[in-house]
């Protein structure tokens, strides 16, 4: 464990130095990620301009869900998303063999070698937005709510990672499906809505997407002191199960990998 932490610390340093080497690329990425964060604010602003409530959530509470979404996606995109974007090319160009030959866990290498610092701006903007919104609407938020919110956001990141990794693993069989990452970005969008939307939809197949809808809604419920203990237990169980499943599926997929090089 300590070895992997040391390696990850080195990875973070290398990625930081890459910012200095490719400044224009960093600024371009910073610009686009800020634009998408702004888009989420505009998006919820337009929806709540027309709808005063949805699924038992007031419009101001829906805004908190969106802000929570901006925060968690900033963290997730910083840690993992850029790695998964590259995976299709890694397999297609035969570079996966060299990854498998290294004395380092392949899942760790695939998931964590690229850290996108520009994406953190989304989290920063989200946190600033959340503090401003909470104080502007006089929500009663104590230390317990804040700590629970942070911990559950962490659980949400684990759920998001596990869902993505399950899908990304299929690239071992279908490396041409490089747009599966775009599909996953879209799937993440379910996290912008209350969890009740999928539960009450009456469409059985959407139940499979409930884990994603819990990612943001659960920590926000704790923050707003809504009744969330059932969802908290559910997301922790789902997080652990999906993470274990993603690991098992990865190991299974590696047995079926045929080298391209």
């Amino acid at each position: 464990m300590r070895r992997y932490l040391r390696i990850y610390k080195a990875v973070l340093k290398i990625n930081l130095s890459l910012i200095l080497a490719y400044r224009a690329n960093f600024i371009s990425h910073l610009f686009s990620t800020t634009a998408w964060a702004a888009f989420n604010f505009i998006w919820i602003g337009l929806l709540t301009h027309k709808a005063s409530s949805a699924f038992g959530w007031r419009s101001d509470e829906l805004v908190v869900i969106t802000i929570g979404y901006i925060i968690i996606t900033g963290i997730y995109y910083f840690l993992f998303a850029h790695n998964f974007e590259n995976f299709s090319q890694i397999i297609d160009h035969g570079r996966f063999d060299s990854i498998l030959l290294k004395p380092l866990d392949s899942q760790f290498q695939i998931s964590m070698m690229d850290a996108s610092y520009a994406s953190l701006i989304r989290t920063v903007l989200g946190v600033i937005g959340l503090i401003w919104w909470v104080s502007a609407h006089h929500y009663s938020v104590g230390l317990f709510q804040v700590v629970s919110f942070i911990v559950l956001m962490g659980v949400g990141v684990v759920v998001m990672y596990s869902v993505w990794f399950l899908f990304i693993t299929t690239l071992i069989w279908y490396p041409n499906l490089s747009n599966i990452v775009d599909f996953l970005y879209t799937l993440n969008g379910f996290a912008r809505y209350p969890a009740e939307m999928l539960r009450n939809s009456g469409i059985p197949s959407l139940i499979l997407l409930v884990p994603i809808s819990l990612i943001v809604a659960t920590p926000v419920k704790i923050l707003l002191q809504k009744n969330a203990w059932g969802d908290i237990l559910l997301i922790i169980v789902i997080g652990c199960t999906l993470f274990w499943l993603s690991r098992i599926f990865w190991k299974f997929a590696l047995k079926h990998y045929t080298s391209a090089s």
Binding site: H29, S32, A35, W36, L46, A51, A54, N176
Partner: protein, 256 residues
């Protein structure tokens, strides 16, 4: 004859990766489905609104061009453009030809989606189009696509000067989603935003083709839309030609 041969090669390439195309289809479907569910939960769901989002999915497939990555990143930034400059074929028309098979594939998907809803969920689709106006709808969709294509081509030419325009492309994508009625029908927007959307060309490749198919527009409104599309297409073609002629002079391709 060479155009037919080129077209058939592009068809082969497009139909080789059908699963990828199907995945691209699912992206707008998921986005629009969540919006249908949201409005239902807000007590504002209706068959007209569901129809709008279903047709928005189809409209997006048919009228939204995605040529910008190939042109700016592959052809200009990586220098592959030199392969086309030496050919006696217009780069604009070559890319347009390249897009046709993809549009045909998307049309097959679009027809399948509409057929599926008409067969199994007829109440979800509320289309009141007078079939006599259908040729006008086809014209509106065609012009809408040409608007999107010409705009994206022109935007991509900025790579001649700025090399990496990824950030700008993302910003433009966001503006297009908002201004083309991708979030909700334009009449639901605040008045200022509605006015801006009606001035810019994006609503004429997104929102108006969709509502023309839905049957919401009268004959006069359709003719107005076609006129505005024609004006915008003329402006964009002028901009395109100016950017292309200046941009090619800036272009360098080392070691090609």
């Amino acid at each position: 004859m060479r155009w037919i041969r080129m077209l058939s090669l592009y068809f082969e390439r497009t139909f080789e990766y059908r699963l990828r195309s199907l995945l691209w289809l699912m992206l707008p479907m998921i986005n629009n489905m969540t919006l249908i569910l949201f409005w239902t939960g807000a007590g504002m769901g209706s068959s007209a609104l569901s129809t709008y989002y279903i047709l928005m999915t189809i409209g997006g497939l048919l009228t939204t061009s995605h040529v910008e990555y190939e042109v700016s990143e592959i052809d200009i930034k990586q220098g592959q453009l030199v392969n086309y400059l030496t050919k006696p074929i217009s780069y604009y028309w070559m890319n347009l030809l390249n897009e046709i098979p993809y549009r045909v594939l998307q049309m097959i998907y679009a027809t399948t989606i509409i057929g599926f809803f008409l067969l199994f969920f007829p109440r979800a689709l509320s289309i009141t189009l007078n079939m006599l106006y259908f040729p006008l709808v086809i014209l509106i969709f065609t012009l809408g696509y040409l608007l999107s294509f010409t705009f994206k081509m022109s935007l991509s030419y900025l790579a001649f000067w700025f090399k990496d325009i990824h950030g700008l492309m993302e910003l433009v994508t966001i503006v297009i989603i908002i201004m083309s009625g991708g979030i909700m029908p334009l009449p639901w927007y605040p008045q200022t935003l509605q006015t801006i959307s009606n001035i810019l060309p994006f609503a004429y490749s997104g929102y108006y083709p969709v509502v023309s198919l839905q049957g919401v527009l009268s004959l006069n409104q359709m003719i107005t839309v076609i006129t505005v599309q024609g004006i915008w297409l003329s402006i964009l073609l002028l901009i395109h030609n100016a950017l292309w002629s200046r941009g090619v002079k800036e272009f360098t391709a080392v070691g090609q």
